[in-house]
Subunit: 338 residues, 4 copies
């Protein structure tokens, strides 16, 4: 950490800061410029030093962190891209994995119909929500365990591994009995109790970026799971909240290459939530692949106008099949397969 | 709900929409303008009608909600301001309640020292965190039940009711054994499992606005608790995330009068998180009172430079006492007491 | 426009609103729901009706616009994509135009070197700034007319048309003497005096989205130029301001397909400003093409570490040439050429 | 400026950076931590050193600015609050100046009526727009010079100095012939050509924060005017653009005390644009005063429902008079007068 003293900080101010650093057990490195003094803390794992310790001291202007706060998630920990094997489907390698399915599991028939259709079209993983975080207490909250059973049946019929959301630590065991991948939604990215519980499981975790989460916060949340002992985490860009109202969220395409630089974990793009409109899903899915995403998550529904949730952003089965064909060319153009 | 058809929508498009509305059991009201047709859904509790049902239909441009999605939290439900009694301390009336204390409970001595000091200065409720949501898994996570015991001891000594954070449904019972008010933090505003659990308790809930939550989302989250049966909820503006980096958050002062218009629930201002800097807490606390807040939450610490968390935004005990005196004049200027 | 009355609005409230609409010369269409009354204004070009006229009346909850405020820029005006011919280079057709060059024109030699290199690599238009909007009055402000002369010389040598920024109405004539395309920067997107002046010229205008401009505001600004008589406008997504600090701006990839839906004008992507970091320019340029952009604007510099401005986001000549080769495959994958 | 090297940067990387700093004529201060090397540039006016110079070099992770980029606007330049005299009305002293008037000048009668009324209520300066920046080219663009004449007549009748907006350098002379204070609107905060032109005049300038401008950018824009030789600048918080749609803008109350800390220039609050709704103007005006604003700008209109612009946020003459009475108590509570 670097501590920038104010212009006009007194020698006593500087001395107090230096003493405080040394009291904490760190070595000091002092730079005296013409206008200001800079105090460097040497050898410190600086995210464990509380910056406020210094920010409230007289004569201190600001503190600047030098080191990244995450370790296991960082490229420093592993230069090699992590590949997560999910029931034989690799996520993170040359081949782009496609997770497709309905927002909510609505019925047994519906899930089976979708599972067969998306498999046919080339999807490798089936998604579907049984526990649904809804902004209104009066909205449909998901089928719960019944939904999980339908998903499991679809897996048995098609061979597709399944991913489904878990909302609270108390459900981790139940959801884990059915799911191949735990999904953590955007409203739970910083639900640390949940992240800690998932860190103790042995199943892969799909972690979405928060609704207005920073890239660093996403990796810090991944670190919660990794540091708990579960190294199979993938992170997902799903659009962030901005002032623009033309779309449901603003898909942060920059986040794809930024995450690829910062972490070895697989990076997933979710153009369904990233746009909120089915007719934008295709262009943004292609953009995600072109920018380097390792996987896609896409919502589909046989009759979007009758979907119980997220119908506006769901592709029909036909549109999904068409998109998969188009994505093949884009994947090849950037040296990938799909 | 109003459905705006596209310019050039065909009669068949309009007919399909009308049929779909009627199929859902609602009555239709059609307005034919020169350029467009507008389809109104009459008599519907329109937040239960899925807008996507229509947004994906041919010829539809957009849908517009007419009704508010929350009911129990709204002024339609109660024109009278709700006053919540917490161990004899009213929150929501003429007198502005002040909740003060440390970010984290660090030790028995520290909590007792602060409790006496803030009581002396005029605070009416003691705050303190025992379970701490921290962005890093390597940071101090709170003293847990030990911290709760210290808070309870401080209550016994000073008579101040206590408020403390609960992070997960599994802790509701434990925290409820000690706390007078459950605090829900900004990262858990949309932790619906937690909100449902709190809706079944009989203790007041202090609900913070999400880090980038909208005012409507805050009231919808309150609705989760209210609809669960617990009518004693207060909502808190604590700053939102914006592009401005001069402060930790941007305190949304507009939200204070907006919330007072929309809801009967008590409205709290948290200038500590709203600014992130101790020397801005005073001006923004005064602004909050001037704008109509019913209560304040303020972080204090005997030695902010040694605080285990949030030191940069904590007032010293002296600064807090001074601020309380200044707030008195502002409260009187707007017809309140403190 | 639709006027939503409050729950509990009195018959007199409704009557006043109806009278006001009729006084303005419009016809009224009344919908009486169970809980509320909706007043529709029929046949009005509703962006000319001041919504405040109604929003301040007793009993009115809100107003909702139905029509788009732009006309000449909209798809209603032209279903066919506009193709702008710039000295033989078409912008807006099957072939993706690439505008490349330095942020600032620094010297004659530098511009000529870059012009030859980017032409060789496949760029079709040369960019370069002679008048520079800089946030500090103490920073380099551009070479002015001297810079324009160097650009003109580069055009003469290479045949590449040139695009350069104009900052103020007083410079329109001077810049127009040299430039083939006027560039309007993100800080001037709503400089209406400038837009009006450009509406009277006969040269194409390249209009950037504002730093935190909405898509609708961008099209409204285009409308200023179009309604002045100059129909050759292209609009550019260049990243928006958000809370994310990992990149200079957040490139709004959604805006590309949204703009293609809303307007017939050519849509340009600027991954240099959209990311602010040279090593993200490639992935985001590919994403822009995959999402449907008609053109790209990319900053290059022979020695980015010595650039007088925007060095951090400038590609070296070699990296630019390499990117052009990679873009070819992506363009083909989406049925385009480059 | 501080240059943070990457973990794993080679000695050659460090040497190149050091050489580059010395080549630029600055002295280097090297700090070698256990994990990283930090290169400090000593004695440099660091906002003139281009950070990109270093950010693109091998082994560099990031650069951090130490000094503020503005000088004349800063507290380092003057510890004493600047008081601007406008025709006998001081702006910036103990007494809070109130600038009130219509958004647009609509007619001679209307301006005179308002001028008398706001003077009576206690306003000290008359505002009114003659040149209007409107997002639509089809909206009313202001009365132009005719409007300026009406304002001048109102000044003659009431003695109130007048403030009015100037949109482009070409109008500076004309507007200066009438106005006592030049107003720069939020869309022109970074119109550097305009700022330079105003720096050469001898009249006070009222500079609004950009629609999504940072506090630092506001002060940099003030610096453009100050460095041009015009030291009479006041800066205005008028709300920023965020994701929240309940209000037109989010009034950044934090900005008031932050600006008071950073600059000696008078700080104005504009609750009309800051909220966009007349019934929020009062609470937020009081909040602005409580937080330390030196002046207020408030829009009033005799019949807001008939205003040609901004009617929704305009107070009636009666409401304005009532607010002025309420503000008196708040001003006194914080040791000011109004």
């Amino acid at each position: 950490m670097i501590i920038v003293m104010k212009q006009g900080a007194t020698p006593t101010n500087v001395e107090s800061v230096v003493n405080r650093v040394e009291e904490l057990g760190y070595k000091v490195h002092l730079s005296r410029g013409e206008a200001r003094v800079i105090v460097g803390i040497i050898g410190a794992d600086d995210y464990l030093v509380r910056s406020a310790t210094f920010e409230v001291m007289d004569g201190v202007e600001k503190t600047v962190r030098v080191m990244q706060p995450y370790k296991l998630a960082s490229r420093d920990f592993s230069q090699t891209d992590t590949v997560i094997d999910v029931g034989g489907v690799p996520i993170g390698g040359k081949r782009i994995a496609v997770m497709a399915g309905p927002c909510s599991v609505e019925s047994r028939e519906m899930v089976l119909e979708i599972a067969h259709a998306v498999k046919e079209a080339g999807a490798t993983i089936l998604r579907g929500g049984a526990f649904k975080p809804r902004s209104s207490p009066y909205s449909f909250q998901g089928l719960g365990e019944e939904g999980l059973r339908y998903l499991a049946e679809a897996r048995e019929e098609t061979g597709l591994p399944i991913i489904t959301e878990v909302m609270t630590p108390g459900d981790v065991e139940l959801v884990g009995d059915y799911a191949d991948i735990f999904q953590v939604g955007a409203r739970n990215t910083q639900n640390y109790s949940l992240l800690k519980a998932l860190g103790k499981t042995d199943k892969p975790v799909f972690l979405k970026r928060g609704i207005s989460g920073s890239i660093q916060e996403l990796l810090m949340s991944a670190e919660y799971i990794l540091s708990g002992g579960n190294m199979r985490v993938m992170v997902c860009e799903r659009g962030i909240r901005t002032y623009e109202t033309a779309t449901r969220n603003t898909f942060d395409i920059n986040a794809i290459p930024v995450l690829k630089q910062l972490t070895h974990l697989p990076v997933v793009a979710d153009p369904s939530h990233g746009t909120g409109k089915w007719d934008l899903v295709g262009p943004v899915a292609k953009a995600g692949v072109a920018a380097g995403a390792d996987a896609l998550m896409i919502e589909v529904h046989p009759q979007p106008e009758r979907a119980w949730s997220d119908g506006a952003q769901s592709l029909t089965l036909d549109h999904f099949a068409e998109l998969m064909r188009e994505l093949e060319a884009v994947a090849q153009a950037v040296g990938r397969e799909i």
